[in-house]
Symmetry: D3
Subunit: 299 residues, 6 copies
């Protein structure tokens, strides 16, 4: 089971300007083959299908708890897209074609399917799909896959970072480069423990340190690249048996924590987009709704 | 953000016999257009993209908290599939073709792609995909969609219930018919509050009461069809402004609760399937792994 | 525009026994790459996109009118599937698992997605999709495509004919082999007129005459392989400028007709399938509906 | 069966200027999940699979006849796209790259796959596919689905209307907003009659009246939002048992008609696009074709 | 089996300027329905599945050897795309967003998924897929299909030629128009031999001679439209039994050759794209790698 | 460029009995995500897109030459499927339904789409598609991907081996386990040389030695697991700089060879399947064809 917290992993900057084609690039990090929906669903299914949990508890705990963190990453990328789209159009009468500024943009779905908000598709509009999930049941293979997958995800994040300097995109990617880096290392350590081959020495791939990226460095300076969380109140504690020792890149001490990180940020309260009929309720509607919500008996 | 609990929504019966083609039918409830991945991802994206949260808080809370419950439903269906597949084959030497019993079964992916475990596909092996998500930003439309989607999900559950009497499948479906019924009613109430049209009077669709299904009735007798949970420690409390009054079918009092239900069951510890190399570690491997996990310095 | 007639192209025999796996094969003729949805939508789009209609009227009329006939073919195949599925299961209490007879069948969608009825998918459950449509705008290429497509459709029909001797399937395929043969010849004649190369001499492909198939021969004996219809009250008359002369296989006279064929059959009134909740209305419901339909003011 | 009429639902304005990226947006209304191919094929399959037609004739007639109207809507949207693309490029020698003006446009398929004409894809080029069809066999569920689908289709139309003020697009969307509104109301009335819950009171969703849109208002002023047609010579007359009473928005009298509307417009005769080799025939070719068409014996 | 030669079919001009949206159009010729991956895989599977090879050797040899040539065409188109993308961006620090020039381009995959290089997708980013392959086993049908497929491929090439005058694109398309023309004629001759109907008289379709295209004419002037190669050291010699006589368009003598053409060009050595981390190795890395490659014992 | 040899990689045993559902499992090894089409196309595109070939020649040669071997593997799997299907049905008159034995089989496409022969789909009929290709341009990432991909391919082969003991399937899989094992090791060595981390020590994954499989052991006994071939007459010689030293599992000496292996087997001459109209030519047809092939002038 899962519990939800009405907070984002970090506070996202509310931007002054939109970047709709930047947002279309960020979709790759959400619904692409190497996007957050992929990391989430791979670990989700692997945790469901994990065999011999009792004897391999630290590894199960690792996969299961990273899954929980990934939900928050999906959420963070989606909110980033929403903020990047904010302000692309402005209201006018339908006959004045208020959505015309979006006519030449790359991702028409943002304006027709959704109301200038995120969708489970990649940067070409191709829907995320279940063939992106590998859950073979063979532990070494699944871990190798996760290691490879996270490196692919890192590569894509680095490239999207280079595609836009939009402050919200940068803040999100900087943070996720660091957290994704933790996952790469975590899976590398798991492989190393099982096979005796120290694949942590291969990172970073690509061979640029996260510290090269301004928006990532700030999180490394806070030590966030050395922390793994259970994302659980009481479970998955055995991640600490894997996540210990020192970081291969800067020698810092790895630390495992119970629960979620202490920071985090508010969920943005997205403004209305009346030209997209979102949420599509007038002041009178809101008043009437408030009245009904307050009626003695539930309707 | 999300936190994970290492418990299933309910205790699943560990079956004496497998039902692999039954498991292939249950895949429809996991990765099908009306499966739990669809309900989960629809509400997940709608909660991300919700506009004017501050003025429409009860509705945002409703969608956001049901999302959290749906994660547990995905988990429950996946675990059911895993238990239904348990025992389909038994170990022998590869040259003796231990997987031959699976050769004529419907879902070859269960035996080649995975190690007799769940996948994000439907009953025909078609991958779940992002076109199954609707997140228009228009609140009434999104709620109407959710209402329709849950009714479709209910229809599929009822039919899969009728396709197999495997005890694990029945236990899971019985429970989800009740919880899905709660979601139908919750969305119906939300629509009614916004529009003034009491669509709670339309249910049940199909017009069979959950009580007709033995495995659902036991949960209704416990009153589980009248309870909605926030699936959160502190947030989403305003679901109680929508989820109140009486149940349209039996007049029972609707009650909203903070947190997760008090019941729940253990996550099954799936046995090894050596003929699928899952998890694929020998006793010697396990010993060596234990040794490495206990080394002073983390590897 | 289109007008609909509540009649099938032919009278379909109502079978004594179901053939559900036969029905799954027939799905290939409906939603497969060479199925009726493909022929329909190819010609539909080609007729929309036809350039220089005024100077090429006979060819436009040909494509446009065959489109109209294809709608009826889609309808005929769908109804055949429905009749082939009739009787696969019988009603009992949900807890008695009345759909269990369907558990090992090939096409689970027939029992979960639909209520033992047709879907726009092929024999593997793969959805029909728009990449199956070719509408290049180049007339010779489009006609060559149609000629090839119809030959492919014929090949598939011949093979499905050989997969089942179910009387409804046979009646449908026999008829469509003849009508599809007319379309092959029509496109062949169009190509011949434009290019001067008599590709009518290539048929039949595969090199078995329709007369080899009992269920097709009856229609050829009625001369149906020599008739082309406008499937229109007043339009598309210029098909007669292409469809004339003699049939290359038996020398019979080709005749073009205005309107639809004089034969045809009733649309089957499919029985209820209460174990699939289809249509899912009780006698009391029906009574109440009748009452509401008769109320003075429309509801 | 179906008969075709060589007329469009309305007369489309022939535009002075192209709007190719506008045309790519309009593709969403043709091949998108909520496009006309979806409404068409949903009702087409539901009409095929309708159970207990004899006892539920008015509902069968409703679904079956709306299907027929939808064919004309698919046709209308496709022709609109064709007109919006007209003039995007102009002829020159291939070596002069006459299609270069299209190089940066969104929908490359319009220029490579087709000859500046419509395709069964959405605004991102994703092919329409059969998973967009719901035909559950449960009447209430299918009608709820149709009601939801039409509201989604309306939302998309309203947004595309706002994306372009191209006169052909506007004329088409204005008309279809009105006709789609009729279908929403028709399904709402059907649901109301079966369930007793008056869901007609929920419309319009989104909560903008069609009258807000100039190009729709002209059709409402003609009363076209109050008329339902059988789109059949003699069948489907029982739609009148559902389509009666008054319109919930303006109180006007609902009227059912046999046949097709009396208005309508000519099918545009699309000009040659020699730089796309469409239709790709020279004056000499045309002469030779004319000669062959006039030969005594059919070739 | 296949052997590879580290040479391209022709020498591709190394361009002075990039044409990234041109490259996105060229993707249609690689991964589109009528692209080189389609011709390759169609003939590949048909050659695997060819029945009665002994009695139909010339036809088997034809399909099998053209397959081998198609591999080189896939390679040529891919290399063209790579050269067309070269120089789209230039290196700078990641924080300076060096990939921003690509933000508004059509094919985001070229910059996120790949490092400014080719992918198995079409001009809309839709992945090539196996439904594009026809391998019916019926020889006449398969040959008719190939004839149609090659004509479609020619149409697409002609249109992409007109979309960009980039020198690398033009050189590649000019050559492939000629070689594709050979394949059209080869399949036409095969059909003619089997059926007695001379379909070679239908070409060219579209009715523009290759000689109209500057970049194609140079190859026709060299006689390359009259030569067919076995693309094999010793096998497939019986293509000469089909490929003989004269060319229907210019009357030149058709000649079959053993092996590959005598011309060809170097495989371009693509430069590093450090802003895409490709290949992502520093001078120090290269030095270390060189050292390890030279170590006495293989690592 | 590529040259083709009319030989298979090994001699496939011609079986006494068919195994059609076994053949459907083998499709996973052809068109599945981890099938031979995937390995082939991944390396094919990576070789096209390889940057800095001059400085990284041994790695380019490795990827480029393994590509060439993979073509032969695709061919071998396809021929295996064809032989496994041989004899599933036998000829009779179409009206006697000669394909009925195939009605309940898993892969209907084998009998409708093809003539009992291979297709580019996986074991569920899902088409192979281009999203299975990774070609990032980052050398370490691409090699890690290939290493992971080959391990996945090995896992699938091992499971399909266990699903059927059909002699043709076993012969093919045994051989490919050995050759795939060579590729795993080759990529592992490449990674080790670049990164200094010896990932060859991780293999075998899954942790069963190939020698456990009878049909693989015979090839290891011949030393085939220690040989890498250039699959080229003259190129790709620098694979020898990577492929040297000893095998990590048995200490045998690794040897690189120019060209293709010396063994190999004949391409099976598949018999006619007249009930599938394949190749669909009568003795009279063959005679006529022979006559036309011998005519003085090419037709």
């Amino acid at each position: 089971m899962f519990k939800r917290i009405d907070r984002l992993a970090i506070e996202l900057p509310v931007p002054a300007h939109p970047d709709p084609n930047g947002a279309s690039a960020v979709q790759e990090l959400l619904g692409g083959k190497f996007g957050e929906m992929s990391t989430l669903n791979n670990y989700l299914f692997q945790s469901f299908n994990f065999r011999n949990k009792s004897k391999l508890r630290p590894f199960y705990d690792l996969v299961a708890s990273i899954t929980a963190e990934e939900f928050g990453h999906v959420e963070l990328v989606a909110n980033t897209i929403n903020l990047m789209l904010t302000g692309t159009t402005s209201y006018s009468d339908p006959d004045a074609a208020p959505l015309e500024p979006a006519k030449h943009l790359r991702m028409s779905l943002h304006f027709i399917d959704g109301a200038q908000s995120s969708l489970p598709v990649d940067s070409m509009g191709r829907p995320w799909n279940g063939t992106y999930v590998v859950s073979s049941g063979n532990l070494i293979f699944d871990l190798l896959h996760n290691y490879y997958l996270e490196i692919g995800a890192r590569t894509h994040k680095m490239r999207v970072y280079e595609k836009t300097d939009h402050p919200t995109a940068r803040a999100m990617i900087g943070y996720l480069l660091v957290r994704g880096g933790v996952h790469i290392l975590a899976y590398a350590k798991a492989i190393s423990i099982i096979t005796g081959v120290d694949v942590t020495k291969i990172i970073p791939v690509p061979r640029l340190d996260n510290k090269v990226f301004d928006a990532a460095r700030v999180w490394e300076e806070r030590g966030e690249h050395r922390r793994l969380y259970t994302f659980s109140d009481n479970d998955y504690q055995q991640i600490a048996r894997i996540w210990r020792g020192t970081h291969p890149l800067d020698g810092g001490k790895l630390e495992a924590f119970s629960g979620v990180p202490g920071y985090g940020g508010p969920v943005p309260d997205l403004e209305e987009v009346p030209e997209c009929f979102a949420p599509g309720l007038s002041p009178e509607d809101l008043e009437e709704i408030a009245r009904r919500l307050s009626q003695e008996a539930g309707m």
